[in-house]
């Protein structure tokens, strides 16, 4: 049994670890170092400048705009997505009422689940480009074309700085809801049938069932959903790059940190400064994850 054990272990681990350390661990470690340099290009020599990049960050308007946008995304996107997905999942699993003591979904549940989930399979970029046409500012756009049929003036979804970010949130929610419907459905399906049965016998209506049974038993899944959506709210790079005016515009109204990191690195060749933004983003993400896990900790209901 022990024969050839260590050669086997080394043989199996060598390649994956080498690839992983070269392309993932190495760059992550270097990022923290690069953030303290003024490196401006592939050829120039990096010079250590301490925390200067971070001082510059603190007085950078665009950086704070991006952080504020992450704040808005972080509140609005998970909330809208989870509320919609919970409602739909409840309708699809329990909404049909009790039949023979078994809670069933409304008519057509399977169809809805399949349709709702589909956008999740599409690349964010493809979705972004589709919506760049759906949101087109003239009658060639789906939404403005529809408004035009009612004689309404076109809405500048992406060009109006007041609604541009919300238009982007709309797309993100559009794409995400189906995933969480399926996720919550899986959670709801694992709630034992006899709990609903007992509640029906006690005369509980469906809103009571939702708030007293489904929601508490789904708490763990909700927490996972919140973390996932929160992490997604710190990304949003692809959608902003393809959908917004001037990649984060108008006038920075939709920019996010990923966009600014990309721009500073590959348009301005400010490698050091871009890395400092990366470090800031990392600490924001970690703080969010830690806070969420801490605040939402609650006794799990064992079934």
């Amino acid at each position: 049994m022990r024969h050839g054990r260590y050669p086997f272990i080394v043989g199996f681990l060598a390649v994956p670890v080498a690839i992983y350390v070269t392309f993932v661990i190495g760059p992550y470690a270097q990022a923290f170092y690069l953030a303290t340099t003024n490196w401006r290009g592939v050829s120039a020599n990096p010079k250590f400048i301490g925390l200067e990049n971070f001082e510059r960050l603190l007085s950078d308007d665009i950086f704070w705009k991006a952080v504020r946008h992450h704040g808005v995304l972080l509140l609005a996107m998970p909330l809208l997505t989870i509320v919609l997905a919970l409602f739909f999942a409840f309708m699809l699993n329990v909404g049909g009422g009790s039949r023979g003591g078994v809670m069933t979904g409304v008519w057509g549940s399977r169809f809805y689940r399949v349709v709702f989930f589909f956008p999740q399979v599409l690349a964010v970029v493809i979705v972004g480009v589709i919506f760049s046409r759906v949101y087109a500012p003239d009658d060639s756009g789906l939404l403005n074309g529809a408004l035009g049929l009612f004689g309404l003036d076109p809405v500048l979804f992406m060009a109006n700085p007041d609604i541009a970010l919300w238009s982007i949130i709309g797309v993100l929610v559009w794409q995400a809801v189906g995933f969480y419907v399926v996720l919550f459905s899986a959670g709801m399906a694992s709630v034992p049938k006899d709990i609903y049965e007992a509640a029906t016998i006690d005369g509980a209506g469906r809103s009571a069932m939702f708030f007293r049974i489904t929601l508490p038993l789904l708490w763990d899944t909700l927490q996972v959903a919140w973390v996932y959506l929160g992490i997604a709210a710190f990304d949003a790079f692809a959608i902003v790059q393809v959908l917004s005016v001037d990649q984060g515009g108008p006038d920075g109204a939709t920019t996010v940190l990923g966009m600014e990191i990309y721009r500073n690195a590959f348009s301005y060749s400010q490698f050091g400064y871009a890395s400092a933004m990366g470090v800031a983003l990392f600490f924001l993400t970690i703080t969010f994850a830690a806070l969420t896990l801490r605040v939402s900790r609650r006794d799990t209901i064992e079934l």
């Binding site: 760059p27 919609l84 979904g105 046409r133 399926v182």
Partner: protein
Amino acid sequence: MTTEIAPSAPAAPAGPGTPDPRRGRLGRRGQRAEVGLLSGLGHIALLVWAILVVAPLIWTILASFKSNTEIFLGNPFALPEVFNFSSYARAWSEANVGRYFLNSVLVVTLSTTGTMLFGSMAAYVLARYPFPGNRVIYYLFVSGLAFPVFLALVPLFLVVNNLGLLNTYTGLILVYIAYSLPFTVFFLAAFFKTLPQSVAEAAMIDGASHTRLFFRIMMPMARPGLVSIAIFNIIGQWNQYLLPVALMQGQGADQKWVLTQGIASISTSAGYEADWAALFAALTLSILPMIIVYAIFQRQIQSGLTSGAVK
């Protein structure tokens, strides 16, 4: 580790032992009214959302057959006057959608194969062979889940550049594999742990080597887990945008672009050339395969993508 999403079971026929389904007569009328209202509103909401999901996609497909005049002046919901396929010819050859598509197929095929091979090898050893440093390596892999890719973006670009792998498929594929490993190892290690020890022992007594045991016995036994994570990786890598955009740039790189990059670029140039029909055709060409694959494998895809979240 239940990843299967059970459809709501059809109501079992009421057998002799089954209690009367109409029990709970107390307050039945009030409940009925509430049920009716909620059902009605719920149905409408579900229908509205289904339309919201489907409408942009159908509209995109319809617009790909229209002329520019129809796109701009016609009713957005109207069918095209004639089904015009010329936009597809332009999208496929002039806008290079065909090339981008094949590039994506090539890259994702190789990178997913590599991810599955290396990911399962590492996960297997880490899950079933205790040795000094095992936990360190495991947490090294899992820690990758906590870091945003943007943090690594600049140094990654430099590393790939220093290795001379910028603008090469080799570089892109290796990077895809590397960034897919944390989740793959995390997921599969948990899976390999659940496989019975007795089978492994029996195989070893029969004289199987460790390598043979892995490929011949453990891999087949882990098939459900491997399928889930393979689907997860295929879709994730197919839809990847940030990594190719950062690593496939500069002169001559546009011949090697993957589909997501290509579509983003076509979207930009469609604005200058005002050839919206070709853009819609390009979009349709990239949506349709996903619709077909999804229609066939929707159950596996749903469970594969959600498997990460369901513990």
